[in-house]
Amino acid sequence: MKLLVLCLLIFSHASMASDLEKTSVERHLETRRVTGYLRESGTSRPIAAAAIHLLPIKLKAVTNSEGLFVFDTVPFGNFSYVVQLPDHLKAEGIVDINSNTTDLKVYLEKKSYSVFETTVVGKGHRDDSRKTLQAQTIAVLPGAGGDPVKAVQNLPGVNRVGGFSSQIVIQGSAPQDTKYLLDEHEVPNVFHFGGLTSVIMPEAVGQIDYYSAGYGAFYGRALGGQIGLMSRDPERDLWKSLLFADTAKAGAMIEGPVTKQSSFLMGGRYSYIGEVLKSVLKDNKEFDLTVVPTFYDVTSTYSFKNDQDHFKVLGLYSHDELGFLFKEPVRTDPAIRGSFSNQTDFYRVIPQWKKRISESLKSDLSFGFGQDWVNVDVGEQYFRLSSYSLTVRGEVEKTFEVASPLKTWKSRWGFDNKYQHSKVSLRLPPFFTDGGVNNPISSAETTEADIFSKYSHLGSYWINDIKIQNWNIAPELRGDYFSQTKQLLFSPRFHLKYFSSDFLHQYFSVGRYYQAPQPQESSAEYGNPQVKAPHAWHFSLGQNIDFRKGSMDGVEWDSKLFLKTFSDLVITSAKTIERNGELVSEKFSNDGRGRAYGIENLLKVTLNPWLFWLSYTYSKSTRWQPARDELPYQYDQTHNINLIGSIDLPSNWKISSRMRYVSGNPSTPVVGATYDSDNDVFVPIRGPIYSERLDSFFQTDLRVDKKWIYDTAILWVYLDIQNVTNKKNSEAIRYSYDYQKKADITGLPVFPTLGVRGEF
C-alpha cells in the first residue's frame, strides 16, 4: 500500500511538474517575427548592410538596401538591441518582445554631420585639368557662404576678383574666357547681382567641376577654362524638405520619390537684402533706391533611372532686379544721372537622357533651351536684350576589347552645338578702359541701334582613352564652326598619364582652344564684323601623390605647371579704316597677344578631426598690343595663397577658417587729365600702363557650424564671418574730378552672415 501511495505521489508530482514545465516551455517557445528599419538620424536615410544584434539571445539581422531588417523568431521577453558601425555613434536600447510588439525603429547618429569631403581629382572620365568640389564640401567652406561657385575661389589657379565682380578668372585669362555650364549646357551667368551668390540653389548641386589649362575636347569655345555645375538626382528613398534663412535670403526645397524609379526636387530662394539696404540708405541725399536689389531663383529636377536609362530634366529660372534714382548727376561723370535700373532674367530647361546600350556602349543626348532678358537703363542710355538659346549635346561612348599589351581603348564621339537668336536695342556709348582706368562715359559718342542676330556655334569631338600597362594616352580632336566669324577651326588635344603606383601619377596635356569673339565685338553695328576668333595653346604638366596610401589620414598633393599662349585677342582700336568703300572706325581688332604661366599646388592634410587645405599658385600673365611692350595683365597675381583649416568637435560643432593672401593687381598711374568742355568731365592721361600695383590682399574668414540631430530632422545654425579682422583691402582707385587726388576703393568690411536651416 505504501508503495502504491508512493507511486501515486510520485506520479502525481511528476504530472504536476510536467504541467508546470510544459507551461514554461510553451511560453519560451512562443515567438514573434520582428521587423524594423535602421536609418540615419536626422537625414532618415536607410542604412544598408548593417548588422543589428539582440542580446543576450545573440540574434543577428542584417539590413537590406532599404534599411529593413527581420528577426524571424524572437522569443517573448526583454532584450537589448545594439548597432555599431564605423563613423556612427553606437545605438542601443531595450525592446520588449510580446504579442503587441510592432516594428522596431532604430536611428543611428553619425559621428559627424559636417564631413569635410575630399576634393576629387580626375574622376569619371579622368581629366587632370579638372578639380571637383562635392556638395558637402561646398556647404561648409568658410567665406563661401555655402555657395558652390564662390567655393571654387579656394582652388589653385583661380584668380581673385574683387568688388562687385561676378565672374571667375582662371589662370590669368580674361573674365570672358571662362564659360559657365549647368549640367554641361552653357548658361549666361552663374552669379546673382554683384556676385552675392550663384543662380542655382546650392542644395540642388551635386558637384562643381573646375576645368583649367589643358582641358579635354568634350568642352570648347573658352580660352581660359570652364566652370561646370552638375545637378544631383533628387532623393529616391523618402520625401525630404529643407527650410533656411540667413541675413540676405531665405528659401525652401522639397524632394522625394515619385515612383520606385523616379524622383522630383523643387526649391527656390528669395533675397531680401535690398530691404535692408533701403532702410540703411533711406536718408541718403544723393540717390533713392527706387527698386530694391532683389533676386530670386527656382530650381527643379525630375529624374527617372533604371538599369539601362537615366532620364533627367533640370529647370532653372533666375531673376535679378535693381533700381535707383540719382538725385543729382554723379560728380565725376554727369552723364550718369537720373534713374538707373537693371533687370536680368533667364531660364533654362535641360532634358537629358543617358542610355547604357550594352556593357561597352553608352549614349548621351541632352538639350538646353532657354531665354535671356537683360534690361539696363541709365538716364537716357539703355541696353535691352532678348534672346533665345538652344544648346544640344550628344555622345556615343564605345569601349573596345583589345589585345595585350593594351588594356582598354575607350572612344567617344559627340557634338556640342549652340544656336542663339537675339534682339538687342541699345543707346550706349562704348566703354573705354585701359590699364584699369576708365574714361568717363560722357566722353564717348553714343550709338543707337536695333540689332537682330542669329548665330550657330557647331562643335564636334572625338576623344580616345587608351590604356597601355601603366600608361594612359588620350589623343583628342575637336572641330568648331562659328557662324559669327564664318570660321571652321580644329583643336587637337593630347593627354598623357603615367601611373607609377595606385597613389602616384604624372600627367601632361597640350591643346589648342578657340573662342568666338564677344557679340558686341563682332557686331556690324557696334563693333567690327571682320574680327576673328581668338585662340590659345595650353600646356600643363603635373603630378598627383596620395601619401595616405589607402588610409583615411594623411597627405595628398597635386602640383601642376601650366602655360597658355593667346593669339588674335580682340582689343579696342581707335583707327579709321576703309571697309566696303567707306571710312569707318575700326573699333575692335585682333591685334592682341598674351601668355600666362605658373605653377599651382594643392596640399591636403587630413588628421582626423583636423583638416587643412593649402592651395598656392605662382603665376605671371602678360599681354602685348601694337606699339606697346609686354605688359602685366589686369589679373596678373604673382602669389595666390589659400589656407583652410577645420576641426570637427564633439556634439556636431565645427569650426573652420580661411586665410587668403593674393598679390595686388597691377594698376596704372594717372599723370594728368584733359578737360572735356562738352561734358564737364576730365579725361585721364595714363602713365605707363600697369606699371604699379595695388596693395596685396589679405583676408581671414571664420565659420562656426552647429547641428542638432533629431531622429527625423536636423537643425543647423551657422555663423560665417568674412574678413573677420576688418582688413581694408584696396580693390581699385578712385580719383578727384581732375585726377590730381586719389584714394582707394576698399573691399568688404567685416561681413557676418548668420543662418539657420532645418532639414526634415
Binding site: 537683360v374 558686341q520 578712385r734
Partner: protein, 275 residues
C-alpha cells in the same frame, strides 16, 4: 552678361559719389579752363567758326599764362585715343603760343583769346551716310601753361554734318536767386537757378545705323562754378535749384559765380557774374 560693364561703371560711380574728401569741380581754386564756347556747335564742311575760351587762375596771383590751340578731325576719343591733335594728319594750329592778357585782378577769371577755324571741306568724304547725317567730330584743343610750369588743357567738339537744320547753342542762362535775377553776391545761403529760354531744348532726329531715324530732345544741363563760397551741386538739370553758400568774408571783386548751360551736342552758353 552684356550688362556687366555698364553695371560695374554705375556701381563704381555710386561708390565714388560720396567723395567728400576730394576737391569739387565747381570750385575755381586752381588754373582752370572753364569752358570753350563755340559760335556754332554744328557746321557743314568748309564752314568757319569761332571759339571763346573762359579761363580762371584765381589763386595764380597774376602770373604769366601762355595759351596755344590746335584743331583736327576726331582722332577716335570714343575708342581710347587721347583728345589731342598731336598725331593727326588733319592737325591745324589755331593759336601759336601766346601770352594771355585778358585776365585781370582780383579774380583772374574771364575770357581768353578767341580762336577761328575753318572746317576741312573733305571732312565727310567717304563716311557712311549715318555718320554724315549725325555728324563727325571736329576737335579743338586748348592748352594753358603758367609761368611756373603748371598746365591745364581742354578740348571742345563741334559736329560736322550734312544736316540742313543745325544744332544751335542754348540761350544764355539767367542766374536767378530765390526767383529774381542775381544782381549781387548773396550774403546768406541762397537757392540759385539757371533759367534758359524754353527753345534752348531742341528736338532733333538721330539716324540709326540701319538708316532709320529716332527722335530725341536735348536735355539742358547747367554746370556751376564759384571762386569763393561753395555750391551744393556741381551740375543741375533744367531749372533745378542749387544752394549757394557765400564766403564768410567776401572780398570785393574776387567773387565769381558762373553758370554754363550745355545741350549735350556741343552747344553751350555761359553767364558770368563778378562781385
Amino acid at each position: 552678361m552684356k550688362s556687366l560693364p555698364l553695371f560695374l561703371i554705375v556701381a563704381f560711380a555710386f561708390i565714388g559719389c560720396s567723395d567728400n574728401e576730394f576737391p569739387r569741380i565747381h570750385k575755381l581754386d586752381r588754373l582752370r579752363i572753364i569752358e570753350i564756347v563755340t559760335s556754332s556747335p554744328e557746321v557743314s564742311p568748309g564752314d568757319t567758326l569761332t571759339f571763346t575760351p573762359y579761363l580762371s587762375d584765381f589763386n595764380g596771383g597774376g602770373r604769366t599764362l601762355t595759351a596755344q590751340s590746335t584743331g583736327c578731325m576726331d582722332p577716335g576719343i570714343s575708342y581710347g585715343s587721347q583728345p589731342t591733335c598731336d598725331n593727326s594728319s588733319t592737325r591745324t594750329v589755331l593759336l601759336a603760343p601766346t601770352t594771355v592778357t585778358t585776365l585781370s585782378a582780383p579774380s583772374y577769371t574771364g575770357v581768353g583769346p578767341t580762336l577761328t577755324v575753318t572746317i576741312p571741306t573733305v571732312a565727310l568724304v567717304g563716311r557712311p551716310s549715318y555718320v554724315q547725317y549725325n555728324g563727325l567730330v571736329y576737335l579743338v584743343t586748348f592748352q594753358l601753361t603758367a609761368s611756373d610750369g603748371t598746365q591745364a588743357q581742354a578740348f571742345r567738339r563741334v559736329f560736322v554734318s550734312t544736316k540742313t537744320e543745325k544744332n544751335q547753342n542754348p540761350g544764355s542762362p539767367s542766374i536767378q536767386a530765390e526767383g529774381t535775377t542775381l544782381s549781387s553776391l548773396p550774403t546768406a545761403p541762397t537757392q540759385l537757378k539757371s533759367v534758359v529760354a524754353a527753345s534752348s531744348s531742341e528736338s532733333f532726329l538721330y539716324q540709326k545705323l540701319d538708316g532709320s531715324f529716332s527722335p530725341r530732345t536735348e536735355e539742358i544741363r547747367t554746370s556751376w562754378y564759384v571762386t569763393e563760397g561753395g555750391m551744393e551741386k556741381d551740375n543741375t538739370i533744367g531749372a533745378q535749384e542749387n544752394l549757394f553758400i557765400p564766403p564768410s568774408s567776401p572780398v570785393s571783386g574776387r567773387n565769381v559765380i558762373i553758370a554754363v548751360t550745355a545741350d549735350g551736342r556741343a552747344g553751350s552758353s555761359i553767364s558770368l557774374h563778378q562781385y
